[in-house]
């Protein structure tokens, strides 16, 4: 009974969270479209130049996102496919997460 209550309460809260996240994604898409329009109509720059500029400026943030993605994929390999987490994490960072999953992460230990 208590487990049911827990599930119901948590789902209500998660719906509210989902609404907020959808709103953010929508706002983000609008911002992205406006940015694209302004950059593509500008004579001083190009979309690729702006993306490159953004990437070089936020390289540390990109590295962090990559690190977190590697962590989560290594976690998946560990919890779902019983793999060595440290090995999966290292391979994810070196080979990228999808390649790690393809060559190491998905194979179940016998």
């Amino acid at each position: 009974m208590k487990k049911n209550k827990d599930i119901i309460f948590s789902r209500i809260l998660m719906v509210i969270c989902a609404i907020i996240i959808v709103y953010w994604i929508w706002s983000g898409l609008i911002w992205l479209w406006e940015w694209y329009v302004s950059v593509s109509t500008s004579e001083n720059t190009t979309v690729w130049a702006e993306i490159w500029l953004f990437m070089s400026e936020y390289i540390s943030v990109i590295a962090l996102v990559y690190g977190i993605m590697s962590l989560q994929v290594a976690g998946l390999a560990e919890l779902k496919f019983q793999k060595n987490f440290l090995k999966a994490f290292g391979l994810s960072i070196v080979l990228t997460p999808p390649i790690m999953m393809a060559v190491y992460g998905h194979k179940r230990i016998e």
Binding site: D6, L13, S60, L71, G75, E78, L86
Partner: protein
């Protein structure tokens, strides 16, 4: 642990609630306002800030930007013509109140009717002879020579006085000025200096620093946790607690309308370094329990771990929060902010570690690939030998420590206090070079204002101002003193055919009024508005200060105050203010804040630990390693010439808040060990091998967390990073070396009392 029943019965609801609150706080983060104004480090009710606001209200903005033009052919027609256009553009800026330069400079020329106000540069020189005449006129006018034009006639200053200012955006202003001067740069060199430029530079560097600190700090933490736990759960749970605590803290910062300053940059780094500690302890014991082979259910395991860790984690959390909260006793506004927000972040991390982590653990499958080879045998062996040494030769060791403390501690009085924002940067940074050139050539871009009240046309007041100016000119570091009294004495000189003997204040008030009337007819009365208000009731003596330290500015201010008290009517000279004065006042605030927060944090930690161990000796033992670390850190600052500034002023409180955890963990576990073994040396050795290891890992993770500060663009933050890493190392040494040696010598009863129980 009743709360744990709720957590374990409603884990999903708890996780969803935390997620929702995090989203709501995250929503607030983009609204955070950045503040780089040095003035705002001081409480607004402080006299120095009130007088500065009053000055700005009466006489307009007191902030200036100095643009220095460097050219070998400065006084030629082409160069002067080129920069007259820059001057026009500067004057047209909305932020400009007035521009002072060679172009507007005036001379008082004696005539039959009195004097005329004539421009130094009525027409641009075209011939060598005209250039030579211009040089002569400049040399004869000490308001221009070496003030607006350099001694070698190769540099010229355009001084932009800004409007009264809260609405001025420093970054926009900097961009505007940079865009303007880029049109005129080359072959001439152009340097820009001034506090608004400094502030906008700080803002740019703050953003760059945050882009480095946060991602690299978090990445470092992820790698450390991955290597320590070798499990996703061991990485992700402490990591998510840190992230949530950072988001909540920044959300609160925005909700409370607190501005983000360059000192606030320390908050996320502190949370990355400290906030994962509680989670790490819980995960370590959870994994240890899973590996122990007990046939407990998952819920029983979690309950057992939380019951074991509750007290030490609670104590460590409380003392860390106390350390940070002691910053609230600091006078500096930024230190209070850091104290409040870091305490909140740590409280969040502490609460989430005790609630969110068990809630996630109960839902997740138990990890199967926990542990591995016993990789810490080297550390265990080392700690055993370490414990054996300190228990065998405690007196010799403590004697050496006392010697070390005396040798390093005597340098503490040499610690210099510095609040100059120029010193946030390396000496070879282009920004600082620009400031140095302006300071060396034109007498600096820092100003003090001596405020004057009364009938400004009264010769008595004017003579008092002249005396004050003469006194100020003799002070070291003062490059220029300007006031209405000086202008009136020049008018008197011009009125008497340029006879230098008449460069004095006329005896008659009516004559002063006539001079001013004459000046307004032939010249522009606006020239005087930076010195005196419209009603001639308030005036200021402007004191430009050359390259001096903020300690010297503070000394100068004290001397001026003393001079006023001894020689003048204090109702006439109402105070010393200006941005130079703000920097000077910050020194006293830093020193006072440092002492108060140090006493408060040490005192509170002593009270809490005495209460917990039910022993005053227990309290004293807890603070001895911390006190040792404080002496060593400040002594080292004296040795290396590291200044006490806005960042390093918070060192002691943070060091105490973090470092006390190690002594608490050590004493707590030693007391438990003494319940199992009667021999003190064996108990210390066992504590060293169990709790000692945890303490070493904990300290290392904090040190590595703080080490990201070493890549900061700001020298104070960089030094803070170095000193905090050193001080945590000293706290670690104090807890694992000094503390056991003291215990062996004094054998405190509070440790053995538990044994009887």
């Amino acid at each position: 642990m009743k709360y744990l029943n709720v957590v374990l019965k409603f884990p999903r609801t708890l996780i969803a609630s935390v997620f929702l609150i995090t989203l709501l706080f995250a929503w607030q983060v983009p609204d955070i306002q950045v503040d780089t104004n040095i003035k705002n480090m001081i409480p607004s009710d402080f006299p120095i800030i009130q007088s500065l606001n009053r000055l700005e209200e009466i006489l307009g903005g007191s902030e200036i930007i100095v643009i220095a033009v460097d050219s070998k052919s400065l006084l030629t027609h082409d160069t002067l013509d080129k920069f007259s256009r820059l001057l026009e553009e500067l004057e047209e800026m909305d932020e400009t109140q007035r521009v002072m330069s060679l172009y507007q400079a005036k001379d008082l020329e004696p005539t039959e009717d009195g004097f005329d106000v004539v421009e130094i540069l009525p027409d641009l020189p075209t011939t060598e002879q005209e250039i030579a005449e211009l040089k002569k006129r400049i040399q004869n006018n000490d308001l221009i020579y070496e003030q607006l034009v350099s001694r070698d006639f190769q540099k010229m200053a355009l001084i932009v006085q800004l409007r009264e200012g809260s609405e001025i955006d420093d970054s926009l202003l900097r961009d505007k000025i940079n865009a303007l001067i880029s049109k005129y740069r080359g072959p001439e060199k152009i340097y820009v200096s001034g506090l608004p430029i400094t502030r906008s530079q700080i803002q740019v560097n703050m953003q760059q620093d945050l882009k480095k600190f946060l991602p690299f700090g978090i990445l470092l933490m992820i790698f450390l946790l991955a290597l320590s736990f070798r499990s996703w759960m061991g990485v992700f749970l402490p990591f998510i607690v840190v992230i949530i605590s950072i988001v909540w803290t920044f959300g609160l910062l925005s909700v409370l309308g607190i501005n983000f300053t360059f000192i606030s940059m320390l908050i996320p780094v502190m949370l990355i370094a400290i906030a994962n500690d509680y989670g790490i302890h819980i995960i370590t014991h959870y994994f240890h329990q899973l590996q122990s082979g007990d046939t407990l259910s998952k819920e029983q395991t979690i309950r057992l771990v939380m019951a074991r860790l509750g007290s030490p984690i609670f104590l460590a959390g409380v003392t860390t929060i106390i350390g940070f909260m002691s910053l609230l006793s600091h006078v500096m506004v930024d230190a209070k902010k850091v104290g409040l927000l870091a305490s909140f972040g740590i409280l969040v991390a502490f609460v989430l570690s005790l609630t969110l982590i068990p809630a996630v653990l109960i839902l997740l499958r138990e990890p199967r690939l926990v542990g591995g080879k016993n990789y810490d045998w080297v550390l265990t062996a080392f700690l055993k030998k370490w414990a054996a040494f300190f228990t065998a030769y405690p007196k010799l060791f403590l004697l050496l420590i006392v010697f070390l403390l005396v040798a390093i501690g005597w340098k503490i009085p040499d610690v210099v206090v510095d609040t100059d924002p120029n010193h946030y940067y390396q000496e070879d940074s282009p920004f600082r070079i620009s400031n140095e050139i302006v300071s060396e050539t034109f007498g600096g871009s820092t100003q003090l204002s001596v405020m004057v009240e009364g009938d400004i046309k009264d010769p008595k007041v004017l003579n008092a101002m002249m005396e004050m100016s003469q006194y100020l000119e003799q002070q070291p570091g003062v490059s220029q003193v300007l006031s209405i009294a000086d202008q009136i004495s020049r008018m008197n000189e011009a009125f008497h055919g340029g006879d230098r003997a008449f460069r004095v204040i006329p005896e008659n008030r009516n004559l002063v009024a006539q001079y001013l009337l004459l000046y307004s007819i032939t010249g522009n009365v606006d020239d005087l508005e930076r010195f005196v208000d419209f009603n001639y009731k308030n005036a200021q003596i402007l004191v430009r200060i050359n390259r001096v330290s903020t300690t010297e500015i503070q000394n100068l201010m004290n001397e001026i105050d003393e001079y006023i008290t001894q020689n003048h009517d204090e109702s006439v000279f109402t105070g010393v203010t200006g941005f130079g004065a703000v920097m000077g006042a910050l020194i006293g605030i830093l020193v006072r804040g440092q002492i108060i927060s140090l006493i408060v944090s040490i005192g509170l930690v002593f009270i809490v630990t005495s209460f917990v161990f039910k022993s005053i000796k227990g309290g004293l033992l807890s603070i001895v390693p911390l006190s040792m670390a404080i002496i060593l850190v400040f002594g080292l600052m004296g040795y290396l010439g590291i200044e006490l500034n806005a960042a390093t002023a918070m060192l002691s409180s943070i060091m105490i808040g973090v470092g006390v955890d190690y002594t608490i963990h050590f004493l707590w576990h030693l007391r438990e060990e003494l319940q199992k073994v009667s021999n003190l040396s064996s108990a210390i050795e066992n504590t060293m091998c169990t709790s000692g290891k945890g303490i070493v890992f904990n300290a290392l993770s904090v040190m590595i967390g703080f080490s990201v500060l070493l890549v900061s663009a700001f020298l104070p933050i960089e030094f803070f990073g170095f000193l905090i890493v050193f001080s945590i190392g000293m706290c670690l040494f104090g807890a694992l070396a000094v503390l056991p040696a003291l215990i062996v010598i004094f054998k405190p009863k509070f440790l053995t009392k538990m044994q009887r129980h």
